[in-house]
Amino acid sequence: MSANLSAIFYLISGILFILALRGLSSPETSRQGNFFGILGMTIAIVVTIFSVGNFSSSIIYVLIVFIIGGSIGAFIAFKIPMTAMPELVAGFHSLVGLAAVFVAISAFLDPDAFNLGSPSNIKLASLIEMSIGAGIGAITFTGSIIAFLKLRGIMSGAPITFPGQHLINLILGITVIALVFYLCKSQSSILFWSIIVISFLIGVLLIIPIGGADMPVVISMLNSYSGWAAAGIGFTLENTALIITGALVGSSGAILSYIMCKGMNRSFISVILGGFGADASTGESQKNKDQKPVKNGNAEDAAFLMKNASSVIIVPGYGMAVAQAQHALREMVDKLKKNGVTIKYAIHPVAGRMPGHMNVLLAEANVPYDEVFELDDINNDFANTDVAFVIGANDVTNPVAKTDPKSPIFGMPVLDVEKCKSVLFVKRSLSPGYAGVDNELFYRDNTLMLFADAKKMTEDIVKNID
């Protein structure tokens, strides 16, 4: 296949990748996006095979290896439980990183095959490019492995820090640069191997100080690294597909991790530089570690969940009153209704601080009376409901009242919100309500905590519906 033709096909596959990412940015187009990605990949592979044009027996082996790898991948993809997604992605990343290293090694060992000169006499630019590719690939590889281990729980999720960590990273980084410099001069293969080994080390050191909570950011960042590595190799091989896709993946991964940091209110820099500047908060994170874990959501998650639910029950409590969130709540409900969601309000007899407290506020917000139900009338409905939206209520949902005779609230009837598929809790912290009793629902698997002032959060959710 002519170089021009394959270049055009590479461009097309690059465009398909762009469309893939674009598709993934909204739920409606996401499946189409994935399809574009598959298409782009297919084109890239087929074009490459044809442009290399080597149809000797080798291709058989290549195909066999490809099919074996593919089957393994497919098998993993089908068998893995959904909850293991993050570590799966991390694991996959390590493969891409290692593949990049291998390609770079191959290019280094046999530059002729790639038109890069001959061994020990490789074009300067290519040499730099392939070192970069190999180095970043190596970092991606070990970094992803650490992330995988941490997420899988094989390694402790706690950040591992030791004095001088950042200094060591710095020294290693400089060493790599120096090695590249000398490699260009001497073309010595020992230097090339050293680069790879040290990069492996850097990958480990970069990720171990990062806590489990920041792992998604890290994965996305490693994603970005693998993109840059591919782009580096792309320059080496003068391959447009690799360059475009590498740059695409590199920048989108970086942006995504930035966005995620912002969403989690974390400093991007400190996450990326491996816990840099995080020392101050170590104490706190250590403390939280002992506590049971809660799932932490934001307004967008809540909006998504409720928008796509077919029924939602609202459970208001004293916090709604304190935040005066009733108007915002009403607006949220209106929007959900427009999305075809069925809404009911469940009013616990002692929600709030005054008999009928919730009724006053809901009436003020003009909530129709026929959407408001008392405990007895609605308690059986939770089991058939997709989402319970608990806004500033706490004690009135606490299952301890049903189970623990020693609890001060034992015997009080409570709303069985936990029977819903998902429970959203809007409150400002994990602190208990009037009765001072911890609510174990916060730690359940189907609970998403939305920590914020109830009014603020509801307004944010409103923004994210439609």
């Binding site: 009013i347 616990h348 007899p349 002692v350 008999p355 009928g356 919730m358 009724n359 408001v372």
Partner: protein, 357 residues
């Protein structure tokens, strides 16, 4: 020019000139004279009036003799009218065209005949008083209602929200809707005018339409008398609705005609004991069966209330608005240049309200 007013016949507590409007009259260039103790029914002392330069005379007679323009709520007795100077003016708020007035050489303005045009809104006594009547009718009903109105879900069970039905969504009816909504009741309303639907809904109330109904609105915005067919349909609709409601406020009127009879005996018999009907239209014959002036009739545990003068229940607010209406009317009548009252018969407002000259 001198403006005057005297106390009303008891039990009327309202007055036509408040200290505030007295001041405005002064600013307009008019003198004000009042009978001694004029404002005491509302807690205004003579001093308050004097502070604004009002002349306080010792007897009503002096006021009648002295004033060029007399402002009253009700028409004075014929003996009093005799005292009024020739060519003087008298403003009252409710006069029937048929009422006989012996003295013929004074100008009597009856504000109840004010045209309902935009410019006259600030003088519109009917509106200002009906509005308060609508508010107060709800307060009176709720006072008599022996249950709680708003919904309360409590540890000791749920108190359901009271259902309140408003008959007639004019000025009084709309304010009644607003007040009932405020208190947390489930409010519905009905009217013969089609525009009323949107207006009721704009206050968060539910409108009960009479099926297949024509629009019975006159050009002036008032209601026409309904056809027999309409009345039948309305009765059918209401027979169902009335029994579901706890409180009914009746405000339906047809200008110049007796009030339509809307709630019949059968409907009342079907109501729950403890229910309340407040008939604001009682003075014009009432919208409800059994309603009687100044009485609470108890039928099967249902209280039917008729008050002849609901304004006496909030005379302070009512007087404030009434006095402002009067002031706006006088300002329109009085010419600052000519320093006298000018009967411009081109002016719809003056033409319509002037009864006898």
């Amino acid at each position: 020019m001198i403006i005057g007013s005297t106390k009303e016949q008891s039990p009327e507590k309202r007055i036509s000139i408040t200290p505030e409007t007295a001041k405005s009259f002064k600013n307009l260039g008019l003198n004000v004279c009042l009978e001694k103790g004029y404002g005491e029914s509302l807690g205004y002392s003579d001093k308050e009036f004097k502070d604004y330069g009002v002349e306080v005379l010792s007897s009503p007679k002096e006021v009648f003799l002295k004033s060029n323009l007399l402002c009253k709520v009700h028409i004075p007795s014929n003996t009093e009218i005799e005292l009024i100077k020739s060519k003087s003016n008298l403003i009252v708020s409710n006069l029937n065209k048929e009422d006989k007035i012996s003295k013929k050489d004074i100008n009597i303005f009856a504000l109840n005949f004010l045209p309902r045009i935009t410019r006259a809104q600030s003088m519109d006594v009917l509106s200002s008083q009906a509005n308060l009547a609508g508010y107060r009718a709800v307060i009176e009903s709720i006072y008599e209602y022996e249950k709680a109105v708003p919904m309360m879900m409590t540890a000791a069970g749920t108190v359901p929200a009271a259902k309140i039905l408003i008959i007639g969504a004019g000025v009084a009816g709309l304010q009644a809707i607003a007040t009932a909504k405020r208190l947390g009741a489930i409010v519905s309303a009905t009217d013969v005018r089609l525009t009323a639907k949107e207006q009721v809904e704009s206050l968060g109330g539910k409108f009960l339409s009479v099926e297949g109904s024509e629009n019975l609105e006159t050009k002036g915005g008032y209601a026409k008398e309904a056809s027999e067919d309409f009345k039948k349909k309305q009765t059918e609709m209401l027979e169902n609705a009335v029994s579901k409601n706890d409180i009914i406020i009746c405000t339906a009127l047809i200008p110049g005609k007796p009030a339509p009879r809307i709630i019949n005996e059968k409907m009342i018999k079907n109501m729950k004991p403890g229910s309340v009907i407040f008939d604001l239209a009682v003075q014009n014959g009432g919208n409800s069966a059994y309603s009687e002036l100044d009485k609470i009739t108890l039928i099967n545990g249902v209280k039917i209330i008729g008050l002849s003068n609901i304004m006496n229940k909030l005379p302070l607010t009512a007087s404030n608005l009434y006095a402002k209406n009067i002031f706006s009317f006088v300002r329109n009548l009085y010419s600052r240049e000519k320093k006298t009252f000018v009967l411009n018969m081109e002016d719809e407002i003056i033409k319509n309200t002037l009864i006898k000259e």
